[in-house]
Point group: C2
Chain length 211, copies 2
DNA sequence: GAAATTTTGTTAATATTTTAACATTGTTAA
DNA sequence: TTAACAATGTTAAAATATTAACAAAATTTC
């Protein structure tokens, strides 16, 4: 499973989310073209992804929703679950916590860190907030593997270093400033401004095309 | 410029951000490998992207930071600027507004919408908040082209429909639920959960490899 | 002033990702 | 019962994206 295409991994996560909604609606089976419609992709791509993970549906009945959810879980989730910390309990940090609240996922946000004394010691949306000094102990004690960075840009680099030093294995950086980490730490940069600029670019293009 | 690769568009936005920081530091020239280092990509890729936009640097001196910033601006920005609205002034909506505050970009968040009467009529981080009923008029009056959706998942579909009806040209959906829009509206789905699940997957993979 | 070095710009090769094509097989319908 | 249909699974082709290779030229070093 190690060599699944990166894009397939992303889509599996998305398929699962869509499938969970279907399950809630009482749907037991689903066709590749239904999944495709939801995700704005083609049915071939869905079938290809499922082929890659070795799942086979029923001809003319489609895929068993429950089975598929479980299989995707076996592939992308860690069996014991993975604990996550958020550094920066500002608007973005809290937004992410709320996103996850209630989701019965193998991913659990178990700690938050902030510099603001008013926040430290509190429990915010179910997540206890610690000071930055406590990072090494908290990360070790709670077996935290992944860190999400939602601090202001100026603190990006220091935060990344602190996370690495504390033994984190993966970082998701929401800061607009790219950071450097040793190669054994998996790093995903996600820049919200870029996404918006991209949308604006294609809107502009479309307008210019029309005129 | 229409046929620049999608990935190049994204990277141009990122290059510009990096270049702006360099400019602040007083750097006048930069090498392709320096840009590459910041963005965690290869120098060849940087040079190739710049080739595609027809920018040429100075041999052995690198690229002129100021010039390059301007050129990227000419390519990805709309000359008159593009106005943006945020629907959902919760944590995520406010986080995005703060991200943009102070950035002298051609993209301006000029209106927010929310369902909460306590927020309506207020100015939040410099952005006035309107009720959903006012959407058509506000979007028309303020010439808003792009809408960012930061509402709870249950409102995703209705919000998208309302934005389309109001004449929006591009939508950036931060909701975990994909939406449908007519094909003339540019849609970018961005799912924060997927990104985190991806990081967790690769962390898990690395651990399994080690054992 | 010649050789070595460094950096750009570009073409060619490789790798990845998506899409097309189609064989297969249950199911429905005539 | 047999033909038409609708869905899966898979191989092959096409499109997209990245990386390698290298020529050209300015700068530095000897």
């Amino acid at each position: 499973m190690k060599d699944l295409p990166h894009k397939t991994i992303e889509r599996l996560s998305q398929y699962r989310r869509a499938l969970l909604l279907c399950l809630d609606k009482g749907k037991t089976h689903i066709y590749s073209h239904e999944i495709a419609k939801i995700q704005h992709i083609t049915a071939v791509q869905v079938r290809r992804d499922l082929m890659l993970i070795g799942y086979t549906g029923t001809l003319r009945k489609g895929y068993n929703v429950k089975e598929l959810i479980d299989l995707i879980g076996h592939i992308i989730d860690s069996e014991e679950g993975i604990n996550v910390a958020i550094v920066g309990m500002g608007n973005l940090g809290r937004a992410l916590i709320n996103y996850f609240a209630g989701k019965r996922s193998k991913l659990k946000i178990v700690a938050g860190f902030d510099i603001n004394p008013d926040k430290i010691g509190n429990i915010m949306s179910g997540v206890p907030c610690f000071s930055l000094d406590e990072m090494p102990e908290v990360i070790a004690a709670r077996n935290i593997k992944v860190g999400i960075m939602t601090v202001p840009a100026d603190f990006a680099s220091d935060t990344a270093n602190a996370l690495v030093k504390a033994g984190i294995k993966g970082i998701l950086n929401y800061t607009p400033k790219p950071v450097n980490v040793p190669k054994e730490v998996y790093l995903e940069e996600y820049d919200m401004i870029t996404t918006l600029e991209k949308v604006a670019f294609y809107v502009k293009m479309q307008e210019e095309e029309e005129s």
